[in-house]
């Protein structure tokens, strides 16, 4: 298993998209921070720091792309035979890919955090300090960490769905497109969903509603009335759905002919 994860990380590190993703993330965050520095009247320095200067939102795209390709790539290059005929169980091979993606998402989150701190110190050092109170008697740093944790859990719900879908596609490009289009579709559908939840209470347990976790954590009063779930319920909902989607992905992958 360790061997398999090492192999996946080796491939990931040698892919061009990895280094491009990293540079793009840092660049996008810098651009965002510089703009808000130049337009102080529109900006909320603390809020932008908490949102990693857009970093955690961009990470969603990079991770959707990475998760779509990590399985589809093997089919596209014909390397799936190489992987699967060896002595490992299929479950181990799939799990090694999940774990690699988990490590990759952690890497992006840590990178976003560290770079946010750097941007803050360089551009906004005089504006606020990490221990300032942001909302509900909580410091900026505290809110930041809670927001990161919430969006990370939500990210993984989304990624588990992408990993399931990517299993069905044999080309990376198709898998990426469906992943990203699906992501936009869900954000558009969410206002419709709130209306439906208002009508049929039990719909609050649907997986799309779970994606509101990080919004609710940073702004619980407003969103909470829409989702009709407590923070704890949302966290558990996210974890359970992530588990279900990953397991479904495993069921598809286990029996797949190559």
């Amino acid at each position: 298993m360790v061997t398999l994860i090492r192999q996946e990380l080796f491939k990931l590190m040698h892919k061009k998209s990895t280094i491009i993703g990293t540079i793009a993330l840092l660049l996008l965050m810098t651009i965002f921070a510089v703009f808000s520095k130049l337009q102080p009247s529109f900006s909320d320095p603390k809020g932008e720091f908490i949102a990693a200067y857009g970093g955690t939102s961009w990470v969603v795209f990079f991770m959707i792309a990475a998760c779509s390709t990590i399985v589809a790539m093997e089919f596209q290059y014909g390397t799936i035979k190489e992987l699967l005929y060896r002595k490992y169980y299929r479950g181990e091979i799939l799990a090694s890919k999940w774990i690699t993606m988990f490590i990759y998402s952690l890497y992006f989150y840590v990178l976003s955090f560290i770079f946010s701190v750097i941007l803050k110190m360089v551009l906004f050092n005089s504006k606020f300090s990490f221990s300032d109170i942001y909302t509900n008697d909580q410091s900026v740093m505290h809110v930041t960490l809670v927001t990161y944790a919430g969006s990370f859990v939500g990210l993984w719900l989304l990624l588990s769905l992408v990993l399931l879908l990517a299993n069905v596609f044999k080309s990376s490009a198709a898998a990426i497109s469906v992943g990203i289009v699906g992501y936009f579709a869900t954000s558009i559908a969410s206002s419709l969903m709130f209306m439906l939840i208002n009508k049929w209470e039990w719909l609050k347990w649907n997986p799309l509603n779970m994606l509101n976790l990080s919004d609710q954590l940073s702004n619980s009063t407003v969103i909470g009335t829409l989702t009709r779930l407590s923070n704890t319920e949302l966290v558990w909902g996210n974890l359970v759905y992530t588990g279900i989607f990953l397991f479904l992905g495993y069921l598809v992958f286990r029996r797949r002919n190559v």
């Binding site: 190489e82 005929y85 002919n257 190559v258």
Partner: protein, 302 residues
């Protein structure tokens, strides 16, 4: 000695399409076995099943006595394979491919170098694989199959895209490894090449095994002919037919060799009709002819 591979009554369908029908054959350790048959006969499907890439509807596959299926792969730890076309990551170099799949970090450096030298791929091993030609990719695929000193190697059309020199080097390498005890199962359409390699041959047509035989038996059983040239071929043909000797379809007088004193009888027969035999040639069927005969007969039976 026990078989390294035993396939028993293997059945495989894709939907309603029965692709393998009660396929049974075995491979003994240290042997080079050829798997031949027309396009779509089921060669690749058999190999994939043996590698646990497919689930199959019935029968069993044993490697070293241990069962193999889509969920049981332990027996494959000492198997190397190249199926259809090599799986290559375009963003890695050849060397990185070898490092990626090399088993054990303490011995792999020497093993990798060994494989590179044997296949003569050192000159481009450090270039990115997306810039490789067909043959270069093929050789890298073979290198990956031979990495980690597997006991049993499965190669599906390994000569695909190789130039004559590389083909010869590959042949020598396979024979060399076989001498040291590695077992091979090889499919190929290049029969003239396969002929020089294999000890045994498994013929498959339409999802059924129609023959498993050693190379010697194959050429002995349907491979030896006498070709006569006489002073009067037309008359000789009539006489032979009248005597009940079967002539092969040919514009020459071609007779299947059945025994060693057959020729003496023929000479006697001819001279009793005042025909002189001016030349006798011994013809041996090559694998191609034997195989085509076999497949023809198979179709006749059906």
């Amino acid at each position: 000695m026990d078989d390294i591979l035993t396939v028993k009554n293997l059945n495989k369908s894709f939907g309603k399409n029965k692709v393998l029908k009660d396929v049974s054959f075995n491979v003994q350790p240290g042997k080079v076995v050829g798997l031949v048959g027309p396009n779509g006969a089921g060669k690749t499907t058999i190999m994939k099943a043996v590698l646990g890439l497919f689930d199959f509807q019935g029968g069993s596959i044993l490697i070293n006595g241990k069962g193999v299926s889509i969920t049981k792969h332990q027996a494959l730890s000492e198997v190397g394979a190249l199926i259809e076309y090599p799986g290559i990551y375009p963003f890695l170099t050849g060397m990185q491919h070898l490092e990626l799949f090399a088993d054990d970090t303490s011995t792999d450096k020497a093993d990798i170098q060994n494989v590179i030298d044997e296949l003569n791929i050192g000159s481009y091993i450090n270039r990115k694989a997306k810039a490789y030609s067909l043959g270069m990719k093929q050789k890298l695929g073979i290198a990956l199959a031979l990495l980690n000193n597997p006991k049993f190697v499965i190669l599906d059309e390994p000569m695909n895209g190789l130039d004559p020199k590389a083909t010869k080097e590959l042949r020598n390498l396979i024979l060399d490894l076989a001498k040291k005890g590695t077992t091979f199962l090889i499919s190929s359409h290049i029969l003239s090449e396969l002929e020089k390699l294999v000890d045994e041959i498994v013929v498959i047509d339409n999802g059924k095994i129609i023959k498993q035989t050693s190379m010697e038996d194959l050429s002995d059983s349907n491979g030896n002919y006498l070709v006569l040239t006489t002073t009067n071929d037309t008359k000789a043909r009539e006489i032979l037919s009248a005597e009940g000797v079967t002539l092969e379809k040919s514009d020459k007088l071609k007779i299947k060799k059945t025994s060693d004193d057959q020729l003496a009888g023929l000479i006697q027969l001819m001279s009793s009709h005042n025909i002189n035999i001016v030349d006798v040639q011994h013809e041996q069927n090559d694998l191609e002819t034997s195989l085509l005969d076999l497949l023809d007969n198979d179709q006749v039976k059906e």
